[in-house]
């Protein structure tokens, strides 16, 4: 634990609140993420997990509190700016560019690498050619990492579910993210696929020395992947610690199963 405390802070949420009308979706929620650590976010449905993702990525602006990303205030950032800063994410209900090919899905996420102006594109200047070639190689490389290179030319929507999840991660990785947010990566997967996914996420975590925050309901996935878990209910932290600690925490058990009377 001590080593973790010394490493750089990637993300710092300080008493963040988000209200929808009278509902406090997240309520004075604080969270600090350190570089290179895998964090888990658990909690019953409606606990506010995805809302936290949406406030970090700028889809929602917090009603109160501050969010910092590497010392930079990103409290009222816009979604594309969050991505440009290096916060990659996947969605609970997969959001691919479904009519496009698998390769194009990743290429489309490389727009930051395509640092050329319109004349370069229209006159096909050397700069355009060079950058486009690099982007294609990068996208193909990412697909290879994900084991999707054989399916590069297939339509994204024609991929099996598990592969779609992987492709979404590949697309997020195209941003060269410093922080990766995964919203229920194992949703709808069977036990075998789950094991594969865990290995896969471990792989990219090591390979790209990423900081990962993931939302997950499957406790075995959380236990296998996460170094640190935060349990949430009604938008508030109810427990924190290692997966084992949180799993045996009475408040967490009560939140999931209800309090015995």
């Amino acid at each position: 634990m001590s080593a973790k405390q010394e490493s750089t802070k990637v993300l710092c949420m300080d008493k963040v609140e988000k209200h929808f009308g009278g509902v406090r979706a997240i309520d004075a929620f604080s969270l600090t993420l350190h570089e290179g650590v895998v964090y888990g976010l658990i909690g019953p449905n409606g606990a506010g997990k995805t809302t936290i993702f949406n406030t970090i990525t700028g889809i929602y602006t917090p009603s109160a509190g501050k969010i910092h990303f590497y010392e930079k205030d990103i409290t009222s950032i816009r979604p594309f700016e969050a991505a440009q800063l290096g916060i990659g994410r996947t969605f609970q209900n997969i959001r691919l560019f479904s009519n496009m090919s698998v390769l194009d899905n990743v290429v489309m996420a490389c727009s930051m690498d395509a640092d050329y102006k319109m004349p370069a594109a229209i006159f096909r200047l050397p700069k355009y050619r060079k950058l486009e070639k690099q982007i294609n190689e990068k996208a193909m490389g990412l697909l290879e990492t994900m084991g999707l290179e054989d399916r590069a030319n297939e339509r994204a929507s024609s991929l099996p579910y598990g592969h779609q999840r992987k492709l979404e991660i590949a697309r997020a990785m195209a941003l060269n993210p410093k922080l990766l947010l995964l919203d229920e990566p194992a949703a709808g997967m069977n036990a075998d696929e789950e094991i594969e996914l865990v290995e896969f996420i471990k792989g990219i975590h090591q390979r790209f020395s990423l900081t990962i925050l993931l939302i997950e309901h499957h406790m075995d996935v959380v236990a296998n992947l996460c170094d640190h878990v935060t349990a949430l209910n009604f938008g508030k932290t109810i427990a924190e610690g290692t997966p084992a600690e949180v799993k045996s925490n009475q408040a967490v058990i009560d939140a999931y199963l209800g309090v015995a009377k």
Binding site: F80, A83, F91, R95, N99, S111, A114, A121, A172
Partner: protein, 306 residues
């Protein structure tokens, strides 16, 4: 050579191709529907006509200015309206197109009002029109096949995901809107210098609808499809000319039939490819041979079982 009627048809086809290519970028690749592009056409037409007539500018300058001015207006309008979602954006475009028409009707001192603006030099020849259409196609093609087109397609496919991969969706949607307006203005400038006389009624809501319909028929997300659509929609009424008042009816029927049979349009999401067409053509004898062989086999099997 070609008679003036044929030349006229070629010019009209080219003008429509340019306007529809702009529409294709906006509607086909970004999935923003604008029922106001006739408004941008009229801005391009009037701006270039005034420059030619009042200031005696050469055609090329009037044309570039007309297109650029339409783009500038689109930039201002887009800055205000592009954040609106789907139907709301569509309605603001519709309102814009109509208000431009009405404005040109009422500013009699400047535009000649409903009586029209006359005395424009007839500079647009078939050659100029074809060169412009080819140039427009190359620009649209290179634009779409670069990060610009990719980012627009990403917005069409899933706006939230486009945001999540760092695409400034507002800026790119506005860019797409400006692009389509520049092309509409360009088409308008050519139109004015072909007709030599323009009235606001030339650019009514019906014209905007025609542009959208053509784009949808050609195929959303296909530039070659749009060209094909523009060809068909401009030529069909000319072919049916003998049928007089039924031609618009037949045109309407044709639109409905295409949408029913090919909901993605003639070339939905795909570009026309010479290679694929040649391959298909080459394969045709094989395909026929296979089919007949299969039929033969089936017949023989039936014979055996008897």
């Amino acid at each position: 050579m070609l008679n003036s009627f044929q030349q006229g048809v070629i010019i009209l086809v080219c003008i429509n191709v340019i306007a529809v290519l702009g529409m294709s970028v906006l509607t086909g690749f970004t999935r923003l529907f604008s029922f106001g592009n006739a408004g941008f056409m009229s801005i391009g037409a009037y701006a270039s006509a005034m420059l030619s007539v009042r200031l005696g500018m050469p055609f090329i300058i009037s044309m570039v200015f007309g297109a650029a001015f339409a783009g500038f207006i689109a930039y201002l309008l887009g800055s205000l309206t592009i954040r609106l979602k789907g139907d709301y954006f569509l309605i603001t475009c519709l309102g814009f197109g109509e208000s431009v028409r009405v404005l040109f009707n009422y500013t009699r001192g400047i535009t000649g009002g409903a009586a029209g603006f006359a005395g424009i030099p007839g500079t647009t020849t078939a050659t100029i029109a074809v060169v412009c259409a080819v140039l427009a196609f190359i620009i649209a093609w290179t634009f779409i096949h670069s990060k610009f087109g990719r980012n627009l397609t990403a917005i069409r496919e899933n706006e939230m995901a486009a945001d999540a991969v760092g695409i400034n969706t507002f800026r790119y949607k506005r860019l797409s809107f400006v692009f389509s307006a520049v092309f509409a203005g360009w088409a308008g400038a050519l139109f004015a210098h072909y007709m030599r006389f323009i009235t606001p009624a030339d650019f009514s809501l019906a014209k905007s609808c025609e542009l959208i319909t053509t784009t949808v028929i050609g195929g959303l997300g296909s530039l070659t499809g749009s060209v094909l659509g523009a060809l068909l929609v401009t030529l069909l009424p000319e072919l049916f000319r003998g049928l007089a008042e039924y031609r618009m009816f037949l045109y309407g029927v044709a639109v409905v039939v295409v949408i029913l049979l090919k909901p993605d349009g003639l070339y939905g999401y795909r570009e026309f490819s010479l290679k694929r067409t040649i391959n298909w053509w080459r394969n045709l004898p094989n395909m026929i041979r296979e089919k007949s062989a299969q039929r033969k086999q089936r017949r023989e099997k039936r014979g055996e079982s008897k």
